[in-house]
C-alpha cells in the first residue's frame, strides 16, 4: 500500500486524490459485476430455454426440492445482506469495531447458508438425483428432469462457489480492519466487498423462485 508516499495514507500514487481513487474502485467493481451478470445470465438463459421445452418435467422436479430449506436459506442470505450493509455503514461512520462485528455476522450467516446447501446436496446424492449414470427420478422419468437437476447443481453450485470466495474475502477484510486500515475517510474495500456480496444475494433472489417454486400449487 502506497509505500512511495505517506505510509499512513491509503491513497495510491497513481491517483490524484481519494475521491478519484474511490470513483475508479467503484467503476471497476461495477464493470466486474456486469461480467458476473452475464456469467450467471448464460445459465439463466439455458434454464429458460429448457423450461420452455420441458415445462412438466421442470414442475415435477422442482416440487421435489425442499421448499422449507430453500426459503430458510433465502431468509438467511437476506439477513447476511443486512449485516453486510451494516458493515459498510460502520465503515462510513469510522467504526472499526462495527465493521468487524458485522463482517463476523455476515460470515456466520453465509456459512449457515452453505451448511444448509450441503445438507440439500447430500440428500440429492442419496436420492440419485445427481445427473449421471446413476440418475433416477421415477416421478417423472426422462431427459427433462435430469436437465432440471443439471441446471440446479450448475446454478446453485456456481452461486455457492461465489459465496465461498465472498467468505474468504470477508476474512481478509476483518484482518485489514484489525490492522487499523479503515477509518471514516477510507473504507473502500469494505464497500466493494459489500457490492459483491449483495450481487450474490440478488442471484439467489432469482434462483429461489426459479428452482424451488415452479409448480407448487398442484
Amino acid at each position: 500500500m502506497a509505500k512511495t508516499s505517506d505510509k499512513k495514507s491509503p491513497l495510491q500514487h497513481h491517483f490524484v486524490h481519494l475521491n478519484q481513487q474511490y470513483d475508479a474502485s467503484q467503476m471497476g467493481m461495477w464493470a466486474f459485476l456486469i461480467t458476473e451478470i452475464l456469467f450467471f445470465g448464460a445459465l439463466f438463459t439455458a434454464y429458460i430455454v429448457y423450461r420452455l421445452m420441458y415445462p412438466a418435467a421442470f414442475g415435477a422436479a422442482s416440487s421435489h426440492l425442499d421448499i422449507t430449506l430453500g426459503a430458510f436459506n433465502t431468509a438467511v442470505l437476506i439477513a447476511s445482506s443486512l449485516t453486510m450493509a451494516l458493515a459498510v455503514h460502520a465503515g462510513h461512520t469510522g467504526s472499526t469495531r462495527g465493521i468487524i462485528k458485522n463482517l463476523i455476522w455476515t460470515i456466520v450467516l453465509g456459512s449457515v447458508f452453505l451448511g444448509v446447501k450441503a445438507i440439500e446436496y447430500s440428500h440429492k446424492f442419496h436420492e440419485h438425483l445427481v445427473p449421471g449414470p446413476s440418475f433416477s427420478f421415477p416421478l417423472y422419468p426422462g431427459a427433462g428432469s435430469e436437465l432440471f437437476f443439471s441446471l440446479y447443481f450448475a446454478m446453485t453450485g456456481l452461486h455457492a462457489f461465489h459465496m465461498v470466495i465472498g467468505i474468504i474475502g470477508l476474512f481478509i477484510l476483518i484482518g485489514m480492519a484489525a490492522k487499523g486500515r479503515f477509518n471514516q475517510e477510507y473504507s473502500t474495500p469494505v464497500e466493494m466487498m459489500g457490492l459483491y456480496w449483495h450481487f450474490v444475494d440478488i442471484v439467489w433472489i432469482f434462483l429461489f423462485p426459479l428452482l424451488y417454486l415452479v409448480l407448487r400449487h398442484h
Binding site: L18, I34, F44, I67, A71, A85, H92, F206, L213
Partner: protein, 126 residues
C-alpha cells in the same frame, strides 16, 4: 472523503420488506394463478433485486455514470435472453415433451424387435 451516510432505519426497513416479499412469493406459489404464477414470482424477484440494488448497493447515491453501468449490465442480459428466445419460442416446442416420449417409445419398440430370435445380430445393445 465524504459519503452519504444512510440512517440505520433505512437498512432495517429494506430488510423487513425483503423478508415480507420472500413470504409473499412462497405463499403465491401455492395458489393457482395459471400462467400468471411465473409472472408474479418474477415480478416479486425483480422488485426484491431492485431494492437491494437501490438501497443496499447504494445505486441511489451513485453518480450518473454508475447508474448507467448498473442499467447496462441488466440491459445486456435482456438482449442475451430476448435474442435467444426469439429463436426458441418461434419453434413448435409445445409438443417437445410429447415428441420425446414418442421417440423413446419407437426406440424401445425397435430394440424389442431386434432382440427377437432370428432377428439379426445387430441392434440390441441392452
Amino acid at each position: 472523503m465524504s459519503h452519504t451516510v444512510d440512517s440505520l432505519k433505512t437498512y432495517y426497513l429494506i430488510f423487513l420488506a425483503l423478508m415480507v416479499l420472500t413470504a409473499v412469493t412462497v405463499g403465491a406459489a401455492f395458489i393457482d394463478f395459471g400462467p400468471l404464477n411465473i409472472s408474479i414470482a418474477m415480478a416479486i424477484a425483480i422488485l426484491k433485486g431492485c431494492l437491494v440494488l437501490w438501497f443496499f448497493m447504494h445505486v441511489r447515491h451513485g453518480n450518473p455514470l454508475l447508474k448507467i453501468f448498473a442499467v447496462a449490465g441488466f440491459l445486456w442480459l435482456v438482449i442475451l435472453v430476448a435474442f435467444t428466445l426469439q429463436d426458441y419460442v418461434t419453434r413448435p416446442w409445445q409438443d417437445f415433451e410429447a415428441n420425446q416420449r414418442w421417440i423413446k417409445h419407437q426406440a424401445t419398440h425397435f430394440e424389442a424387435r431386434a432382440a427377437l430370435p432370428g432377428n439379426a445380430s445387430h441392434g440390441s445393445a441392452h
